[in-house]
Symmetry: C2
């Protein structure tokens, strides 16, 4: 499935914040360096996650980002909706016919609901734990 770069980078950033914030904030520069994502691009993505109340920002010098709540309370659906609300939304065809209506109603809406169900079931904690599990075999280097 094709994932937009924005959503992809958003998830990666959140996992990064989750792993690297030890009672402190994580800056755009930090994430950019660790994850090889342009800082300017992140500056566009992170405010959106803040507006969706997924992360909290501290402005000014020594500022940065932290999660607003425990990672197990942040779902994949939260993140996707914050960055691209069309992904999980119901879709309705513009073609005008009874068949088109039926396909919209009984197929696409069902498919969207099915996807939402999946994204509800995955939390940031699940992803971060998976990274940690990988790290036990292959040691993690903090930058």
């Amino acid at each position: 499935m094709k994932i937009s770069s924005k959503v992809e980078c958003g998830i990666i950033s959140l996992v990064d914040i989750c792993i690297y914030s030890n009672n402190s904030v994580v800056t755009v520069i930090n994430i950019s360096a660790r994850q090889n994502i342009s800082a300017k691009y992140l500056e566009q993505i992170l405010p959106q996650l803040r507006q969706a109340d997924i992360i909290r920002s501290v402005k000014g010098s020594h500022g940065g980002y932290t999660l607003t709540r425990p990672a197990e309370k942040i779902t994949l659906r939260d993140v996707i909706n914050a960055l691209d609300c069309t992904v999980l939304a119901d879709y309705s065809a513009k073609e005008d016919s009874r068949i088109a209506d039926a396909v919209s109603e009984c197929l696409w809406s069902k498919m969207s609901a099915y996807l939402r169900n999946f994204t509800d079931s995955v939390t940031l904690r699940d992803i971060a734990d998976r990274i940690a599990a990988d790290s036990s075999a292959q040691p993690m280097y903090y930058i």
Copy 2:
């Protein structure tokens, strides 16, 4: 979920062929008139469905299209893959980091597999039957 117009029109066309081919073929012109889709656009979509062995074409005068097999043997996955193979394919991030790799492997690939599972479970018959069910309340008019 955002569905491409091509896939949408493809499904609609197949349902149309399924419903309106009574031991005969269905032409682009017929589908176009019934479903309000440009004939020229359909001429681009239907050959792709033929190449994927979902429909069979009869060329020349009195030509048209029929399904190659019973509707219950044609899955949503067959159709989507014929028209846009990126939808159900695994996606791998281009960002270069351990976290990005982990997200690709354990998140996006799982999500694609989940979607494939859904699309495997829905057949053209299911959709056509749904249309028929609607018609018992609201009579269907053949053109």
